[in-house]
Amino acid sequence: MLPASAVLAQPTSPAEGVRAVPSVLQLIGNTPLIEIHRVRDGVAPGVRLLGKLEGFNPGGSVKDRPALKMIEDGLRRGLLVPGKTILDSTSGNTGIALAMVGAALGYPVELVMPGNVSTERKKVVEAFGARVVYSDPLEGSDGAIRLCRTILAASPERYFKPDQYFNPANPQAHYESTGPEIWQQTGGRVTHFVAGLGTGGTIMGTGRYLKERNPAVQIVAAEPDDAFHGIEGLKHMASSIVPGIYHEQELDLKIGVSTDDAYNMVYSLGREEGLLVGQSCGAAYVVALRIARTLAEGTVVVLFADFGDRYLSTNLWLGWQRLGEAAAPAGGGRR
């Protein structure tokens, strides 16, 4: 087997000959930024709305960044060694990312997911060769967190648990990559950064970097407006196990979004911008628009955590809507 150090090596750029990266892991990050032109009713001309398209990561989401960073950190610290299995709880994208990184490095991966994660997620994770344990759907992601702790406690010597909710390498990944990319891609002009709250890793790490470069940058979080919601990937912090890496005082603002508003925004972005994103992206963009409408000028960057094609079997598209009505314009009829 190729040693981990070779798989993780940075690519070289020969003057001639084959130009290839050593593995899929070097394709993580450096995602594009896109201007949102049409879905911006009520926004002043001096305000730019920019989407950071994390779906371009090879595992299909922003979670490739922390997954790689946490595993690199585990290898560096000697916590992940041959013979160990990577274990974590996840409701989806982190599981896919861990499964991909584990496969690329040759480490087995075991994931605890709520039984009601989307079919696409289950299939993708299994396609990467990971083993999946399902927790009670009624308990949500907190149920997966608890079951994962039980599995780990039963045989701690078998596993390396990245522990995305408590691992500082999670926000660090964003401090080192997402933040600098946004700063460079906007030429330092970013005035607001908006992202959804899942583990809090994205907004903590990216926010810290941007605040260091310019303390005036506003860091704004989008979260579900209720504990009982359908915005996959996001946490309603007040009713959840609060992640250890999440420090609310580092946010400038946190705005609640209803599931209906988030879903309708996904439909609008698909139809009007040609941008099919996931439901958490809909929630984040609802917040970005609310912020943008209060500004005379500014550069609002919103993080789109993934694309929408891995949600086609979920309530977002199939739910209680009759087929054919699912793509009604935002604000229009919903059934």
Binding site: S91, N116, V117, L138, S141, F228, K235, S239, R335
Partner: protein
């Protein structure tokens, strides 16, 4: 009596993960649940009475969307689960 499994975010109404209610149909059962636990139905249904689009209801493991929706018949001993679309940190 129908056994009803309640998801974590709604247990503040029922104080329990498992409760019992009556009704010949899912719609009637939701009405009975609301009588027993006031306010519960409006968390599950929109004002027009339809189930919110991010909520899934299963009768004996079958999604009622593929049965007869709110008209799905119930009998004593059935198990009804109220499951939100997946939610939580990734």
């Amino acid at each position: 009596m129908v056994h009803v499994k309640v998801p974590t975010p709604l247990r503040k109404y029922t104080q329990s993960a498992d409760v019992e209610a009556t009704g010949d149909t899912v719609g009637a059962l939701l009405a009975d649940l609301d009588r027993r636990y006031p306010g519960l139905r409006e968390r599950i249904c929109d004002p027009d009475g339809q189930v919110k689009r991010f909520v899934n209801i299963f009768v004996n493991g079958e999604d009622i969307r593929f049965l007869k929706n709110l008209e799905t018949a119930l009998k004593t001993g059935d198990e009804l689960s109220i499951v939100p679309a997946i939610a939580g940190g990734r």
